[in-house]
């Protein structure tokens, strides 16, 4: 490996690499957050219990059909192709000139949303029925049950899957170079094109992608730990007293 070449490319172009990486991170952070919110909303709607009859039943059925069409469509087509269709399509067919960064965030969000919706739905149906029943038995309605009991558990449980989506987004924003979004891959390509040197810039991009994904994974793991709280709890009330042996036993179980 020609180390001095890599160093030369880096010293000459570091600000461009940094800006590209920044753009990649920016689009994937915002896209993941929006996608997460879309996924929560869609997933929650798709798990509303359908009443046996009445207007609400028909209404929910139509909504559910539309939402599953959305999910199937965006999961079933490549993001690169969606980017072309949405960005150029809105300009050529509808005469709307989308800002390409807005388009980029839109495409990543809507894509992530389609995946997250299924992750959220899976998370909701995997919550023990007893949690719903206990909430209902104390007088909570479906909405309160979801907000106060079910969703906090679902969100905790889907954090690893969300991290996965985040990592995928960091890597897959590279396909947005087809609509000339100056993310890391696009930037690297121009650096390579200008200098006629290929593998060193891409090697640098590779390292940068890895640093970003690895950092994100670590941060999410930290958040998971934070949510889980301490491994042990503290007995309340009798700080002055020495803990009784049976309490210590109970605590260690």
């Amino acid at each position: 490996m020609r180390l001095e070449l890599i160093i030369k490319i880096l010293t000459e172009n570091w600000h461009m690499f940094l800006r590209g990486a920044g753009m990649t991170l920016y689009i994937s952070v915002i896209g993941t957050i929006f996608g997460f919110i879309i996924g929560l909303i869609v997933g929650i709607i798709r798990t509303i219990p359908i009443p046996e009859r009445g207007f609400k039943k028909g209404f929910l059925k139509v909504i559910n059909w539309l939402l599953s069409a959305y999910i199937e469509f965006f999961r079933g087509t490549p993001m690169m192709v969606q980017a072309m269709v949405i960005y150029y399509g809105s300009a050529e067919a509808l005469g709307i000139n989308m800002d390409k960064y807005a388009a980029a965030i839109f495409i990543v969000s809507i894509n992530t949303g389609a995946y997250m919706a299924e992750i959220v739905r899976g998370g909701i149906i995997s919550i023990d029925k007893g949690q719903f029943e206990a909430a209902h038995a104390m007088g909570m309605n479906h909405f309160q049950t979801m907000i106060y009991v079910v969703m906090p558990q679902v969100i905790r449980n889907i954090l690893p899957a969300t991290g996965n989506e985040f990592v995928i987004n960091i890597k897959d924003t590279s396909v947005l170079n087809v609509i000339s979004v100056s993310e890391l891959f696009f930037t690297t390509k121009s650096i390579a094109g200008n200098s006629f040197i290929f593998y060193p810039p891409f090697f640098i991009a590779c390292v940068l992608y890895f640093v970003m994904t690895f950092t994100v994974t670590r941060i999410l793991r930290f958040i998971e730990k934070k949510i889980d709280g301490p491994e042990n709890f503290i007995l309340a009330g009798n700080q002055m007293q020495v803990a009784k042996p049976e309490d210590m036993l109970k605590r260690s179980n």
Partner: protein, 246 residues
């Protein structure tokens, strides 16, 4: 008439399976009623119909003179009047012990946080779990979880407590601590409806014992009758089988 709950001609079918058949049954204020019967006889379904976790297929449930199966009756308000304790505890995993006991008070009964904590602490003391307010459910033993579940239900200050086999999921050495708490509640005059397999407990605590078999109430009466000198042959048969297992 001081019936809190009165059930008339209650029936429940799952598909073609008739699980409850024309049940007539009532609970008076301050009464402790134990329901016994073999597995699959419909005990849980009866309890779950009473708080509408299952929708009855027919009949009436009268709560303080009002038919709660009436379309316009507020089932959420009604459910706050019934405390439910499940076999599997069903503590909310996302809250610690205190959180479990205040979330319903705050979000359903709209009590302030301070008020809710006061009430919760009162009942956590009753069940002997007031030192454990910071613990998450998964950090507790089965008996401790069930005692917290009882405190959680009590914190809503219901008129009636429903228990569905509260000790059946517990290791034998933890059954006692939960039964002890329930016995204390009975002595406090709480109205309780308890599905149980603990015959000794039923004899000590119940004002009335109800024996169910295949979706019907076969026999009911004071514990000395139903558990010691049953009138019905099916009750005798059940007791023979149960006592042999011990």
């Amino acid at each position: 008439m001081d019936n809190i709950i009165e059930i008339q001609h209650l029936s429940k079918t799952f598909g073609s399976n008739e699980v409850l058949k024309d049940i007539d049954f009532s609970v008076k204020k301050g009464e402790v009623v134990c329901i016994i019967g073999s597995s699959g006889s419909g005990k849980s379904t009866l309890l779950r119909c009473i708080n509408l976790l299952e929708k009855p297929s027919g009949g009436q449930i009268i709560y303080k003179g009002e038919n709660i199966l009436d379309e316009k009756h507020d089932i959420y308000a009604y459910r706050t009047k019934l405390g439910m304790v499940f076999q599997q505890f069903n503590l909310f995993n996302n809250y610690n012990v205190l959180g479990n006991c205040i979330v319903g008070q705050m979000k359903v009964l709209k009590r302030t946080r301070e008020e809710a904590i006061n009430v919760a602490m009162k009942y956590l003391k009753v069940v002997g779990m007031d030192q454990y307010i910071n613990a998450k459910p998964k950090q507790l033993s089965g008996g401790q979880k069930q005692r917290v579940a009882i405190a959680r239900a009590l914190s809503m200050e219901p008129d009636v407590m429903l228990f569905d086999e509260p000790t059946s999921a517990l290791d034998p050495e933890m059954v006692g601590e939960v039964l002890k708490v329930m016995k204390e509640l009975a002595e406090l005059g709480l109205t309780m409806l308890i599905v149980t397999h603990e015959m000794g407990f039923a004899r000590d605590v119940a004002d009335r014992v109800v024996f169910m078999d295949q979706g019907v109430i076969v026999e009911e009466g004071p514990p000395e009758q139903v558990l010691v000198n049953p009138v019905q042959e099916r009750t005798r048969e059940f007791l023979r089988r149960t006592l042999n297992e011990l």
